[in-house]
Symmetry: C2
Subunit: 429 residues, 2 copies
Amino acid sequence: MTHRLSTSDKDFAQAFDRLVRGRRESDIEVSRDVTAIIADVKARGDAALADYTARFDDHSLDGNGWSIGKDACAAAYAALSDDLRAALDLAASRIRTYHEAQLPEDRDYTDAAGVRLGARWSAVDAAGLYVPGGRAAYPSSLLMNAIPAKVAGVERLVVVTPTPKGQVNPLVLAAAHLAGVDEIWRIGGAHAVAALAYGTQKIRAVDVITGPGNAWVAEAKRQLYGVVGIDMVAGPSEIVVVADGKNDPEWIAADLLSQSEHDPTSQSILFTDDASFADIVADTVGVQLAALSTRKVATKAWEDNGAIIVVDSLEDAMPLVNRLAAEHLELAVDDPEALFARVRHAGSVFLGRHTPEAVGDYVAGPNHVLPTGRRARFSSGLSVLDFMKRTSFIQLDPDSLAAIGPAAVALAEMEGLPAHAESVRRRLT
Amino acid sequence: MTHRLSTSDKDFAQAFDRLVRGRRESDIEVSRDVTAIIADVKARGDAALADYTARFDDHSLDGNGWSIGKDACAAAYAALSDDLRAALDLAASRIRTYHEAQLPEDRDYTDAAGVRLGARWSAVDAAGLYVPGGRAAYPSSLLMNAIPAKVAGVERLVVVTPTPKGQVNPLVLAAAHLAGVDEIWRIGGAHAVAALAYGTQKIRAVDVITGPGNAWVAEAKRQLYGVVGIDMVAGPSEIVVVADGKNDPEWIAADLLSQSEHDPTSQSILFTDDASFADIVADTVGVQLAALSTRKVATKAWEDNGAIIVVDSLEDAMPLVNRLAAEHLELAVDDPEALFARVRHAGSVFLGRHTPEAVGDYVAGPNHVLPTGRRARFSSGLSVLDFMKRTSFIQLDPDSLAAIGPAAVALAEMEGLPAHAESVRRRLT
């Protein structure tokens, strides 16, 4: 059942600790399977992909097609209803505008010692996006991954997506058209990630792989980190809502359920300083669940991982909120600034009563690919920087080398690296 | 023996391909050992650390000390010769200045739809730096890792370093004093990385782990990526030098050897358009090697992994240089800008004849922790961003929700997520 805690419970510290530490890490068996799949794709290439795709997706790549063309994507976009096309266009436009402002500036200057220094940013040559098949095939995810890559300047943007029994999701194709995806391959799972990392006969390797997936996909990305860049290690989705008793309980209950319906492992946690509001929200969640078409998933997630925590004051909640370092954090109060100033770790924050998390999933503009599982302590949402890299540069002339070179010689000799010292000393006149 | 290639060789493409692909990936046996060590530290904490440290470093943590105090670091700094102290001070000061300019700016604005959007950067709470013991204990590495962390605003900066038979490197302690390190623990190896990631009874967990180490340390960081942030997967050091025939061959030979002396697996590659210059450099490397105190390591590295490649023109070399995506790239020509414009992938670039790579190792200012093993295709040198994370935020009011909310409702329904749609719809008046 859903956890009901109060900071005044005498075992609160331990119970909260269990909540913080309860999030899962990768499974050792998944890890072994994925290692074997990666080795197989590296060794056998396309033949391995065809075998896995026949087995897992009941789709014959050689018989029924390896890829989906741009014409099919354009047709899917054209076939959208006017309302949906307008909604997708608005989302794409707002995502693009927000991410364009993330583009980093190059540096190039000469300092007082006469040393020219700088840093130059550039896009990776090619990026691969994993797009899940079936229920979790979200066009919004495609936009959130593809648009930052294109804004960064990536020339070759490759989607892999499983097409079980050959079925494709036309909404994903429409989003691919809108985002300017260059290639779509009908493969999914850990083998698709391996194909993107190492390349096969048909599929050229990419430099960065992003996008959500199941446990096998996530583990494949983790194992291939270093061979390619990856966006992050992603886990189940989470929301923390901090709300006073003046909120509409219907709104807050809906916000909690908007995470719970994602997946049975999703987590929704409410902090409130009003015990009777807590009771009403708990009841309201029950009522809303009954009417929800996603109630099976949402009920399991809410019962297994949901929590309502009553605190003395919302200020007191903030250290607990920071320990959770949640993917999504709503601050549903009249003046959210005071609480926001105390937030140290969160993926994205939704300020005030009129900012449901779901607007961030689709149309607000900031990325919805955010750190989960307490990783907001050290990582950030997806951005154009995930598709770029920085090259630093240095230029000396005889005078500036004379100014700083002798210190380099002294340090190199101290470290027992005489060839380092020599390479500088020989140039000192 | 050192590879001598020419683009006019009929098997050049294959030979160059071997050079590009020849860099090693992590060893499967190291990987298994590391997995076991991590599990042991997670289960047994300090007791496991004491066992491994007795076994690998011949040092009793309980008997002879777990940590090194700030007073010992201050004393080591005070005991430096005036020359060395001045050199270390200059390095620290220039590194600090360069990295201060990397601090990212927060964003906070309201767009035409009335939506408040932004991003707020903050430092991680705690960072751990791995500092190797023995020959590779470089004070410059400590500065390059610690200063960006402190500039980022990290409050708790923890060093782990092995002290074989209890011996500490006073130069490392002096650098720790200068950089403002908060804790130093006398542990090294994969178990030290595991202790930083999970915490033990004595050592509190950190959020990010950076710093160089041997294959076990690198593999531990790779396996713990996601539990903590890490700087990158690091491999053997590399330099690519692009030089015309007008260079002093003594300078270029010294530059090549400055990488070779790091480690037997280091790689140095010269591209030149002058075949007789290539011959002279090859001979000069031999002469300089004989006089080098690090000749054993440098000779092995140069013979195993070194290469001299003659090209028709230096412009022709650039696509090959980009395929190598080297950690360090020297462009030793009169006007390096034309070649630099063609560089797509490199960790750091050293422009012109008077910029030996070694100045970048110590005193230029940019970080010397750079992507190796072709990872400059997708990753960047260490920066303050590795010790920070970004929280995005969104604030709507009833009007701006009315402007963009309906599109979110349409997209959520399209994706089959009714609770998402409800959380927005309920707030639309």
